[in-house]
Amino acid sequence: MSLRPAGLGWVTPLGRTIDEVWAKLLTGVEAEGTTFGDSLGGKQSHAFPVPPAAIAEANRHPRLRRASAISRFAVLAGLDALRDGKLELDEVSAARTALVFAISNGGVIYTRRFFHDIVKSGASAASPLLFPETVFNAPASHLAAILGITGASYTLVGDGAVGILALKMAEDLMADPNLDRCLVVGAEETDWLLCDAYRRWRLLRPEPPIEPFARPPKGMILSEGAGAVLLARKGDLALEHIHAGGNFAKQTELVRQLDMVCGSFPAKAAVDILIASANGTFVDEAERATAAKRFPTAALYTAKPALGESVAAGGLWQLICAAQALRTQRLPPILHAPAGSGLTTVRSSAGKRWRRAVVTTCGLNQQLAALTLRL
């Protein structure tokens, strides 16, 4: 059973509609960074935020009135994916639709605000309005309510691999013949606290750009947004294989584990494109090594220098990039890639039609996963 991405949606620091953001990626546009000055540690952090104009439509939904940014991103991306798939859910079709969310850091803004009140003023100052929005499945709950989904709704938590893990769960759910489709959404929001944490974890770069495949790695820049993929049983693209990967105990084990995962894909010689999760950290070297060994002729791409590291949303963005590359037969330049690597220009299939892409997601906290997408 191969599931088909029948509708795509994303909310990114470069904007919202699929074609608009893809055009920006092709022309080498980089998201505009913002500086968080509220860090108590006295150090400023940079991130790529979603432009407010891109999510203005969220105000139309009463359910989102008090919702956090992550819920707004998630709902809009999900609605866009349905729109892209030309699907309007009614009671019958909603009953045959499952929802799977991928979340990593979750509603960090409201969580910080809620706990800040406790630390500063004690438990009696805690806000009952904020707490429900801190729960991991709050974004999924809002989207389910807006769409009228009353059946299966799952929120998966994990690291950067959680987007593909969610796709794998969708594939398992769709073994149920009572389901016609599954909407998979990955979402993330960011603020200074998240940046501070990743900086102390020695994974963040003080300021842009992200320089992928640099040796030694120089660090990443966080971003926010959402990606959504409507999976159905018909469509021009097929998710051939989803490998839910496994876990790596140490960073040094990642190369071996990723090689094992990618080595399990059949027909690997025919891979035309590799959409990597390279973000300027230790994962870059593992993906570079895997690309050289397993997919030596594949065109390599990572969108993270342009869009930032959006963790749970990032895996879905990668799948959308793979879909767009196969459909348009073009691949954007990798911004800030090493000079002389041949990666910094727009690539195209040039006569030999691209038919298959591999997407690899290596999380920063021990999880990895990968998939192949065929046109």
């Binding site: 059973m1 108590l40 540690g41 929802l99 979340i103 990593s104 809620f114 706990f115 406790i118 630390v119 004690g122 438990a123 805690a126 806000s127 009952p128 707490f131 429900p132 929005e133 801190t134 729960v135 991991f136 499945n137 709050a138 709950s141 809002h142 389910a144 309510a145 009353t150 059946g151 299966a152 709704s153 799952y154 929120t155 998966l156 938590v157 994990g158 959680v162 893990l165 794998k168 769960m169 398992d172 759910l173 769709m174 073994a175 149920d176 013949p177 606290l193 501070d196 944490a197 102390r200 974890w201 049983r233 839910a244 496994g246 876990n247 105990a249 906290n365 021990q366 999880q367 996963a369």
Partner: protein
């Protein structure tokens, strides 16, 4: 993983066996200690000491004793950095592997709501108080919610893809239900499943701020119930394709035969008062198990003891089942959120195998609006063959599983 599903002809329907289990909860560490406490209907809720609760309405919780976690792993530098949630999971997995040493999962599906949340609290508090945080890299690296599951696999020499469900209080039952479906459809043979959560200040204060936590005893389904008390713990089940488990002569503890999930879009934190969400989950679980309501001998209810939850769940149970014996075990051990469904599945299996119904303690007076057969205060001798275990959560997530003893 195998592909045995054809969406035109319907899925393969393999039977699903529980071949091993492990548990750590306020009732005890391990199946034997848990069974003893469960039989005694022991109240294991105690005053909270991990963080200040003077400004909270509620000041008690079901807590796992630190000494139970001390010996679950070596006392080395890496182990000392792990969160209590990881230690609970390691303990539960080690017990499971004692029963099934060769169990090698193709997939791990577990539930949690907050994982290593308290490490995030330590980090933020240190940041607020000092502007710096010397211990923060270890806190941050061990804080993510999936970490406890990954740590447990690693500590026990296992590796499998790990899907960690964060469906609030339904997470544990959702995890077992999804794991069940993965085997039932023939896509997997062996899945490790369960749930975990460790008590944290943020979550404790959160429930207190909603006035969902009680300053009184936790009294599920009581007419004067006033809210929940929180708990913590971890429980794991080894699920295996029944035919395969039987062929290799494995001891089969129980059979999972049905799963139902529903989403109630009424409100982020409150169930639809009609009980439609719980009712749909239970109906779907029965349909999945191909059982009539009359075939259910016992219901381990979600039964948080909040006025809204118990009213909605109780109404749905009464409408669907009539007077089936019902108990909530949360009065004894508190509500362990993402672990609750998994722990309660283990308690239900223990009850089925040992022929009694767990007690719904702290019960004083019936709710006049609920016509239920509550197993009040003492265990009830019985020989149940089929039980239903419910979990419902924020976000309107409802989950029910059917657990059965082996058919003769």
């Amino acid at each position: 993983m195998r592909e045995q599903t054809n969406h035109r002809t319907g899925p393969v329907r393999s039977r699903v066996a529980v071949v091993a289990a492990g548990v750590i909860s306020p009732l005890g560490a391990g199946l034997a200690a848990t069974l003893k406490a469960l039989r005694e209907a022991r109240d294991c809720v105690s005053p909270v000491t991990r963080f200040p609760v003077e400004q909270c309405r509620c000041s008690s919780a079901g807590q796992v004793a630190d000494e139970w976690l001390r010996d679950v792993m070596p006392n080395d530098r890496k182990s000392r950095r792990l969160h209590r949630a990881s230690r609970m999971m390691i303990g539960a997995l080690a017990e499971l592997l004692e029963q099934a040493p060769d169990f090698s999962p193709e997939l791990t599906v577990v539930g949690t709501t907050s994982g290593g949340m308290s490490f995030g609290e330590y980090y933020y508090r240190a940041l607020q108080l000092t502007g710096t945080s010397a211990g923060s890299p270890a806190w941050i690296a061990n804080y993510p919610p999936q970490k406890a599951a990954v740590d447990a696999l690693e500590a026990c020499g296992l590796n499998s893809p790990c899907q960690v469900i964060g469906n609030a209080c339904a997470s544990g039952t959702n995890a077992i239900g999804h794991a069940f479906e993965c085997i039932r459809t023939g896509r997997y043979n062996r899945v490790l499943t369960g749930g975990y959560d460790a008590i944290s200040e943020l979550v404790f204060v959160g429930f207190d701020s909603l006035q969902a936590a009680t300053p009184d005893k936790c009294r599920p389904f009581d007419g004067a119930r006033s809210g929940l008390v929180l708990g913590e713990g971890a429980a794991l089940l080894a699920l295996e394709n029944f035919a395969q488990a039987a062929a290799r002569g494995a001891e089969i503890l129980a059979e999972i035969t049905g799963y139902g999930i529903s989403t109630d879009n009424h409100h982020l934190t409150q169930p639809n008062p009609s009980g439609i969400g719980p009712r749909q989950a239970m109906e779907r679980a029965l349909r999945s198990a191909a059982l009539a309501p009359q075939a259910i001998d016992y219901i381990n209810a979600h039964g948080t003891a909040t006025p809204f939850n118990d009213a909605a769940e109780g109404r749905a149970i009464a409408e669907l089942f009539g007077r089936v014996p019902v108990s909530s075990t949360k009065g004894m051990l508190g509500h362990s959120l993402g672990a609750a469904g998994a722990i309660e599945a283990v308690l239900t299996i223990l009850a089925l195998r040992n022929e009694f119904l767990p007690a719904n303690i702290n019960f004083r007076v019936s709710d006049v609006g609920l016509d239920l057969d509550i197993v009040a205060n003492k265990v009830r001798p019985a020989a149940p063959a089929a039980a239903l275990s419910n979990s419902f959560g924020f976000g309107g997530t409802n989950a029910s599983i059917v657990i059965q003893t082996l058919k003769a």
